[in-house]
Amino acid sequence: MSVVAVQARVHRRRRELLVTGVLALVVVALFVLTMMVGSYRLSPFQVLGSLLGITDDPSVDFIVRDLRLPLAASGLAVGLALGLSGIVFQKVLSNPLASPDFVGISQGASVAGVVSIVLFHWGAVTTSLTALAGALLASALIYLLAWRGGVTGYRFILIGIGVSEFCIAVVGYVLARAQLFDARAAMTWLVGSIGQTGPLQLRILLVALIVLVPVALLLGRWLNALELGDDTASALGVRVETARLSLLGIAVVLVALSTAAAGPVAFVALVSGPIAVRVVRTGGSVLLPSALVGAAVVLGSDLVASHVLPVPLPTGVVTGAVGAPYLIWLLATVNREGRGG
């Protein structure tokens, strides 16, 4: 057998492991940094010592475990969930624009969240649950409307954009009719911030990640086949509709739970996958790298939003400011290559 092919594979695998390792280190560093900064600064050793239970300093333990760990864990979990679901959507629907915050799923959650806050004055937990239901309903609606003996990427995306516009209109209407105080609360939630994640929402999201990330990585086999087109995937023995529904299902649950936890943090799902593809550069599977990029983007954006800007702002302000120019660039270049349509 020729050595060339084996070498090519080993080389590719090594690069994927290396990049994934480096990304994981970056995420760990940002995770620790998030717990270091604030009105009272801590050293990385104090943070790690407290987290791992090596040191015993009650005041440091209080700051790290009770005050800052929930925020850092929320950033990590929301980022992983958005990064993973974004790349799954983009690969399954084979379009770099097809992230869940574009095809109506985050907007479904937004409508439900805003209605919950403005019309019913529900609390944080109920608002999260309502947002979760909104995201799931929007996805089911898009899937059913796009179904025509199977679901193609284009139908899903176009119907998703329609649903998205409808939801944005409803949000606008509800906000226009709201009392000022309610509208303000709703707007804060809509921008999305990992600071608003409650302990219950965080716990549900973490459990979902622990279960669904390994499942998604296993189903990555299906994704690798689906990428080659439906005909090739079927000819390789993949049941295309089952594969597509399972993968999208996992992605929807992740994005719904993360929106329920932190509100619709914009653009993270859109940018993570393409960034991961560019840093890995082997054309292979990028599920784990995308999840890690998502976590790095959310943690990094929140550090900027909370500590670098003159006034602390929600995470979504920074992700939006970084993501919007990327979207413009994507629309310009993708159309030039004739892929985005």
Binding site: A8, D231, T232, G237, G283
Partner: protein, 266 residues
């Protein structure tokens, strides 16, 4: 490779895409170990028939049989171990390398928890060698020429290691020189690796030259089938393609050569 030879046939099959059937009540017998070409004018149902044979379409009547058993009753992965398909427009993911793409053809041989094995390496190396693409292993698909790209896709189909290889218009986007190269390659595979090949071809003359068995289709039914020398006549070409022509022996291969007549040349 498995020693047994797979027998693919169809009884009274009809296929369509939801509306009227495009292929209607046809019997097909794919000669094992030979090259079969399906020809016919645009829209005659030749690609539809090919897609149906590899279970991309569910028959609206009749059934497709693999070794006498209905293909609908088999597990998808089992079918994929016997029949490979190169579709008309396969999609290469951005940035994928040749070796990686060819490796994806190993899907039906891999399990959920089974890592890549030496068998997979062997199959990929072999597929690259046979298609003369070993030197391209590290390149990305985007860097390749049309002819190289098509050879890589065939390598992927070969890595799947199936006895039956089906190809939907494999020569369409190639210039004539690469068309001949590719059909030579498929003939090598047929003769040296004893693969059964079924392909949809546009060019009737090349089909006559390379196919052992020709299936000529018109309006969803098989108009004639058999060895090209036996069936290709001016009458058949007139009936199937609506073209007046002379049929002369190909000076190189002695197979039928269709010389079209036109308003200015007759």
């Amino acid at each position: 490779m498995t020693p047994q030879t797979r027998q693919l046939s169809a009884k009274d099959v009809s296929f369509g895409y939801g509306g009227d059937d495009i292929v209607r009540h046809q019997d097909v017998e794919v000669p094992t170990g030979r090259i079969t070409a399906i020809v016919g004018p645009n829209g005659c149902g030749k690609s539809t028939l090919l897609r149906g044979l590899v279970r991309l379409l569910k028959p609206t009547s009749g059934e497709v049989l693999l070794d006498g058993a209905s293909i609908q009753g088999l597990r998808s992965v089992e079918v994929a171990k016997s029949i490979g398909l190169l579709p008309q427009t396969p999609v290469a993911p951005d940035g994928i390398t040749v070796a990686d793409l060819v490796g994806r053809g190993r899907y039906p041989h891999q399990g959920w928890f089974r890592q890549w094995t030496a068998d997979d390496d062997r199959a990929v190396s072999n597929a690259l060698a046979v298609t003369n693409t070993t030197d391209l292993a590290d390149r990305t698909i985007a860097e390749l020429s049309g002819g190289q790209r098509q050879r890589v896709w065939i390598a992927m189909t070969l890595a799947q290691d199936t006895e039956l290889v089906l190809l939907d218009e494999p020569t369409t986007f190639l210039d004539i020189h690469h068309q001949v190269d590719l059909l030579d390659l498929l003939t090598d595979l047929n003769r040296e690796a004893s693969r059964t090949i079924v392909m949809v071809l546009h060019d009737l003359n090349l089909a006559c030259r390379y196919a052992d068995h020709l299936i000529a289709m018109k309006d969803g039914v098989i108009a004639a089938e058999g060895a090209p020398v036996d069936i290709v006549t001016p009458e058949l070409v007139g009936e199937v393609f609506g073209l007046s022509c002379q049929v002369v022996p190909d000076p190189v291969s002695a197979t039928p050569l269709i010389v079209p007549l036109g308003r200015h040349h007759h």
